[in-house]
Amino acid sequence: MIVLEQILNGLLVGSYYIVLALGLSLIFSLGGVVNLAHGAFYALGAYFAYEVAERLGFFPALVISPLLVAAIGMVIERFALRRLYGEDPILGLLFTFGLAMTAEQTLRMIWGTTGLNFAIPDALRGQLLLGDFIYSYYRLAVLAVCITSILGCWLLLTRTAFGMIVRAGVQDPEMVRVMGIQLRPILTLVFGLGVALAGLAGVISAPMAGVQPAMGIEIQTAAFVIVVIGGLGSFWGVVYAGLLVGVVRGITVAFYPPAAEASMYLLMILILLVRPRGLMGERFEKFE
């Protein structure tokens, strides 16, 4: 019973990891940039949401904040990150690493070091009791937002012309170029979409975990682990890996809490030993 409860809760937690990890995976798959500032965009999403929610309420913040994050992300991509495509990957790493530190300090300078108090919106307070199981309404809403954004991304990538170019660009950029399609604006949009997902994850975490400058660091590491477990470049790989990490963490808390945070790293090591490409990483030869 306790295990079942933890598994269900783990799936819920996992769905939220997925949103963050998907953005990271998208940016890496197409642009080849390992975005070490992903956690910073996540934190930025939470801070913007705090400001927007003060003025307009939580639900507008849920939409406006990720859009603001995307706008900032696209400006950074257009004027800085773009120069680093195709260069030594270390340049992209250094740039985004520096960006992350700058962003964290900027948050400190503007909003102060103390965490900001971001309460759960009144409409989503309360708990749902299902038999012996308990769910907070807010977490169920988070689940709905996560599923919507995951499906939205999937439809965008598989059912639109934009998505087709993105997928073609991931598999064979040379061929896309030969076809006469400009990838540059697509790269900018994908970066915007990726960081918007990070921003969205930041917004929905704010009422649960609060808002503070360093909030992106730990969660970013989890997102990296999920992308590696899932297999680079694989959409569903990230989804399965996110759910798996959520469940494994929940079960570890039930039986041996000290290893709760370490459990995902152990999982990563085990999966990489058995399947060095990650769960679903075989589809894209580019990453072999």
Binding site: G10, G32, G39, T114, G126, P213, I217, P257, G281
Partner: protein
């Protein structure tokens, strides 16, 4: 030229390397600034980033204010004070920074810290460098007991002091005998020490220990733990968590609205402010809070608020008080030599610490004897501002009780201060 990367530029290997770099980034801090000579150099070490960073930042503000006030009043022995502050980040960085302060900056003494693990590491460096270190934020009893050190003095209360303060109130209300407690404990030096002290206190007073979860620091999701608490149905949930973890847990516990009351082995004001009044409930213990109505405390709160735009917390009080104690000792002994200051403090020098009774250090373990407070979360309708979250319930020990009442005895926490 086409801008998309070549295949070899983006291998999984790079990605894994990058993931490692994310972890490594936590180890980097920001260097302090070197200043002019002919001053009394005091080293300040505290975490300004990471899960204790928010608390540490208040400590830094408190120390800064104290130094500014002292310098404005002419400094110590006619010399200005130069506070050299460093972000101690974690125990290994704390060691490096302490060595740098002692060997390169030649500080005459050090103060600060929030993490017991880092404090222990700094104390060891202080002992080797033979300079005084005043601990302003490490709660572990071990620092005053097994790992006590002739060069280390404690303005911060110990885990036993926090446990016995709230315990004093719990016993008076008959909340311990037969009560079933569930513990959540931070999985590092401080938490382990506090769990040892608080579970022993529960057992000695006839309570039942239902279970304890060791929680990794910086946990962002407590739902799995909250589900376990719900299954256990305790009479009380006892938190041995610190920093951001306190905030996160309080918020999420509120989200699930479980009926079991909360208490804890430590209460730092900053994480409680960050959680917000809606997430708070119950009775807690405090080393110092800005709701005290003593004139000296009110004046300090005003000076701090004027400078920083918000009231001081217990950590700001701790670092402020530590600087004042060091300065007063140097003035009274007309010396900055650590050996002379140690003797002065061990002989029972008393200090105004913005509380009703004066503070002094126990000679055998260097813990400051002082009052603490039991506070209750305020009625939201009566809050003056977002920082006004507590009402005073009682001062512990009471006016007619010995300050030793909440202290560990020499048997409970033996310490030998070898020279």
């Amino acid at each position: 030229m086409f801008d998309v990367p070549t295949p070899q530029s983006s291998s999984r290997r790079d990605f894994v390397k990058a993931a490692t770099a994310v972890g490594a980034s936590a180890a980097l801090g920001f260097p302090g600034i070197l200043k002019a000579d002919d001053t009394i150099k005091i080293g300040h070490l505290t975490p300004r980033t990471g899960f204790l960073g928010q608390v540490g930042e208040y400590g830094f503000k408190g120390a800064t204010l104290a130094v500014e006030e002292l310098n404005a009043a002419g400094g110590i022995l006619g010399r200005k004070i130069d506070l050299i502050a460093e972000d101690s980040v974690n125990p290994s960085t704390a060691v490096t920074k302490a060595q740098k302060l002692i060997e390169r900056d030649k500080v005459v003494c050090m103060l600060g810290e929030v993490s017991s693990a880092s404090g222990l590491a700094i104390a060891e460096q202080a002992r080797r460098g033979k300079i005084v270190y005043v601990n302003t934020g490490c709660n572990s009893d071990e620092l005053r007991g097994k790992s006590c050190n002739r060069y280390m003095f404690h303005v911060e209360g110990s885990n036993t002091m926090y446990t016995k303060t709230i315990g004093h109130w719990q016993k008076a209300k008959n909340l311990i005998k037969g009560a079933r407690w569930y513990f959540l404990t931070a999985d590092y030096a401080f938490g382990h020490d506090l769990y040892r002290v608080s579970s022993r206190f529960l057992q000695e007073n006839g309570g039942v220990n239902l279970g304890n979860d060791m929680v990794p620091t910086n946990t962002s999701d407590y739902s799995a733990y909250i589900l376990k608490i719900r299954q256990a149905k305790p009479d009380l949930v006892y938190l041995n968590l610190a920093g951001v973890d306190q905030t996160t847990f309080l918020k999420q516990y509120r989200e699930y609205n479980l009926p079991y009351p909360l208490a804890g082995g430590v209460m730092d004001t900053v994480p409680f402010w960050a959680a917000g009044i809606d997430a708070l409930s119950g009775h807690w213990q405090s080393l110092w809070f800005h709701g005290l109505t003593l004139p000296a405390a009110v004046a300090f709160t005003k000076r701090f608020s004027d400078k920083f735009g918000g009231p001081p917390d217990n950590q700001a009080w701790g670092d402020y008080t530590a600087v004042r104690i060091l300065a007063q000792s140097m003035t009274e002994t007309k010396s900055t030599a650590s050996e002379i200051i140690i003797t002065h403090l061990e002989k029972g020098a008393t200090f105004d610490i913005l509380k009703a009774r004066k503070g002094s250090f126990r000679p055998w373990d260097h813990q400051m004897l002082q009052e603490m407070y039991v506070v209750v979360v305020k009625d939201k309708a009566k809050m003056k501002d977002k920082w006004d979250i507590f009402d005073l319930v009682e001062t512990v020990p009471g006016p007619n009780e010995s300050l030793e009442l909440i202290q560990p005895t020499q048997q409970e926490n033996p310490c030998t201060l070898a020279v």
